[in-house]
Amino acid sequence: MLLADEKLPPSAIPKNLISRSKHPVLNPINLVINAPMMEEIVAHVKEVLFDEDSGTCFLGGHRIGKTTAIETLVVKLNADKAVSAYFHYFAAEKLDVRSIKQMFKHFCSQENIHTKDRAPYLDMRDLIIYRLLDRFILSRKQQIVLFIDELHRLDVDQLESLASLHDTFRKLKINLCMIFIGNEAPSKRIIKTSKLKKHRLIFGRFFESQKKIYGIRSEEQLKKCLSEFDRLRYPEGGPTYTQHFLHKDAPKNWKLASLSKLMWEVYTTEYKPKLKGMHDSFGMKYFISTVRRLLVFYLNSAWTDDRDELREMISQSIAHSRIYVDGIRVES
């Protein structure tokens, strides 16, 4: 399995053919903004760390940006000297055989550690322990936080082995806090199983304090997210994301955040009622898609400050984000 760029064999294909646009707005995989859930996650993690808890769990709907938020936070929190923990990220994989060995093997491959096929799972676990200890010692922090994404892909045996990993670190007088992130609906299966008497240990360790996370749920949050496009610049010291795409006729100091009220209105009146049972918030994936379309296609091609036109643009952008599949209108 090739996971890291450095393991890829040299390609014969010229790089410029496979390179993507450098501007983050055109390259959504690199587009990271401060989502409202990030603050909530950080606040909750800090509480957990204060108590040196063994774990917690974040659950949220699909496409709300859980993984991106966590990946971003891992880098941010590790760089923050005021935070007393070292953060490490693993993502569970859908495996053909849901065994403990396979889980550790997958963790090893994520860490770019080569493992032999016949290696027993304990050896693979040791590799992970040594890796975490190395990073922890180098970071000079006091606790380790292990974010394990895609909780719904794990089963109870695998959680048991993760609990024993926690015990190993406890013997070393290090708190290994495991924070699971999962999609709410499918994760309920594993959480329900862990509530059974024989698996209460797992529930107690990891799922006693569950925290629900959401996308955008208020106009204020929406405004904050839109302001990110008025704040972030590409390249550094260059124009803001908004300025870069805005039509030349637009006023110089026009801010994308000024559309927050209108966008929230469109979302709540036209889409929110249709999303009942599917989405309980404006997911970050859809929000990013909406703003990208708005900037790249509409506000880039012509300038208007007409409210109805803007409303139509926003509505079309939200529809094209596929938050509500029936809402896409095919233009002739």
């Binding site: 493992t115 040791d126 190395d134």
Partner: protein, 459 residues
């Protein structure tokens, strides 16, 4: 690649580092003949990119790991041992340390006889497979529970030593040796007439901790109490003089009358001091205990024997060959004491220093006259010590004075293969030259000659 920082211990040698890396990467690496340095270099080049670990270093292999650890933990004291220190012939290890996958760089240096952690003797062979301890590149080839890594890796993770204090004694050695001194090469012309077989590397190595303590640490007695090599740290005398490089090595092969007189005065001073001390130790007038033992042989007490031999050496030609003219190499008598100051010398060649700044640049420093004569005096004392050792040895084996010349030290269980040599440590620093030598050099130590031998023995 894992670094195994959690099981890193102070004072790790290259073998120790190799054992550690193997232990934490055993499942990832194949047990083939590839060297550990190649493995590490490859891992660093291909699969080891991480913001925490990336450092700009030209080091490769195990040195890169050391550089990386030093970069991240600059506050941890690390030993800086100079390359000129002589190591033991074979790798030595403590069996308990070997089982825990540890080898210290101090184990291969002669300052330690026992492991400071487990208090067990350092041995040259693995007790299980009876082979010599492996090198850093072949630990993976050993199929042995003690000296290899194959068996150990299957054992469950054992981090019992993490945060442990049991290696503190080695940590203190690291702290002590984190300072480093650079010694000058000294050239003494008269030495070639004092000692036949010179091996300054041994003395240099044995005295290194003493000189380091004297030069770098003011309160060196405190270090003596803390370090597991306290018996190897001797109090040193310090002499300081201005570094004079405006000095040309003179190759003239004659000695001036003035120098000859001064050297003669030094010899007389040393001789009289030795006799005085011997008389005090003997408790009677020297040579008054003469006993005839038949066949015209005369026997004395130990101290009078020394006095007798001393007068022979100083004022008559000391026998260094037998009646058939065969020269006895390796005999203590062959030091030709009588020749000192009486054969070809030039004043300037008596002694000077060479300081190698780089491969192509060597600076010479003059040793002032007062220091030169001091060194001459110390060398004379060392000759008298050798004489005393020989007499002591003769007494042990029942030789009488007339046949001391035929005693061969190669027969002696302790003295065989030993080379006795005063070593003077010169350090050039801040336009001054610092000379250090053990206090012991100034004493005759007739009754405790082994203290001096311990400073000069080979290993």
């Amino acid at each position: 690649m894992n670094l195994g920082l959690a099981i890193a211990k102070p004072g790790e040698s290259r073998l120790g580092l190799s054992l550690r890396l193997w232990r934490v990467n055993r499942i990832s690496w194949n047990l083939d003949r590839r060297s550990i340095s190649d493995r590490v270099t490859e891992e660093l080049a291909h699969g080891f990119k991480n913001s925490l670990l990336n450092i700009d270093s030209s080091e490769v292999g195990l040195d890169a790991i050391n550089a990386l650890e030093h970069h991240h933990f600059p506050e941890i004291a690390r030993a800086k041992l100079p390359s000129y220190l002589r190591k033991t012939k074979r790798v030595r290890n403590c069996v308990a340390c070997a089982y825990s996958g540890y080898h210290s760089l101090y184990f291969d240096l002669p300052w330690l006889e026992k492991c400071p952690v487990h208090k067990r003797s350092l041995v040259e062979r693995c007790p299980e497979c009876r082979k010599y301890w492996p090198g850093p590149d072949d630990v993976q080839l050993r199929n042995c529970d003690c000296c290899g890594i194959r068996e150990k890796a299957t054992a469950k993770i054992n981090l019992a030593l993490f945060n442990s204090k049991i290696y503190d004694s080695v940590l203190r050695l690291d702290q002590f040796f984190s300072e480093r001194i650079s010694l000058c090469q000294s050239n003494y012309k008269h030495h070639q007439n004092v000692h036949d077989r010179r091996t300054p590397g041994y003395s240099k190595t044995l005295l290194y901790p003493s000189v380091l303590a004297a030069h770098k640490y003011d309160k060196y007695q405190e270090w003596c109490d803390l370090l597991p090599i306290e018996s190897r740290i001797h109090p040193c005398i310090k002499k300081k003089f201005r570094a004079n490089t405006d000095f040309k090595v003179n190759t003239l092969k004659y000695i001036t009358e003035e120098t000859r007189d001064k050297m003669s005065k030094v010899r007389k001073k040393v001789y009289n001091r030795a006799l005085q001390e011997l008389e005090e130790l003997a408790g009677h007038e020297l040579l008054s205990c003469e006993k005839r033992t038949g066949y015209g042989n005369v026997d004395y007490c130990y101290h009078c024997h020394i006095a007798n031999q001393l007068s022979t050496s100083f004022y008559r030609y000391a026998v260094s060959s037998d009646a058939y003219g065969r020269v006895y190499k390796g005999r203590l008598f062959s030091y030709k004491l009588s020749k000192i100051g009486k054969i070809s010398y030039s004043d300037s060649l008596l002694s000077y220093l060479s300081h190698h700044r780089s491969t192509f640049e060597t600076e010479h420093y003059e040793i002032p006259e007062r220091i030169r004569y001091k060194l001459y005096e110390l060398d004379l004392i060392s000759c008298i010590k050798q004489l005393a050792i020989q007499v002591r040895y003769g007494h042990e084996y029942g030789h009488n004075s007339s046949i001391f010349s035929s005693i061969d030290i190669h027969d002696h269980p302790v003295l065989h293969n030993q080379f006795f040599h005063n070593y003077y440590s010169f350090i050039v620093e801040n336009s001054y030259v610092h000379l250090y030598y053990p206090k012991e050099y100034e004493q005759f130590s007739f009754d405790t000659p082994l203290t001096w031998l311990a400073m000069t023995e080979c290993f």
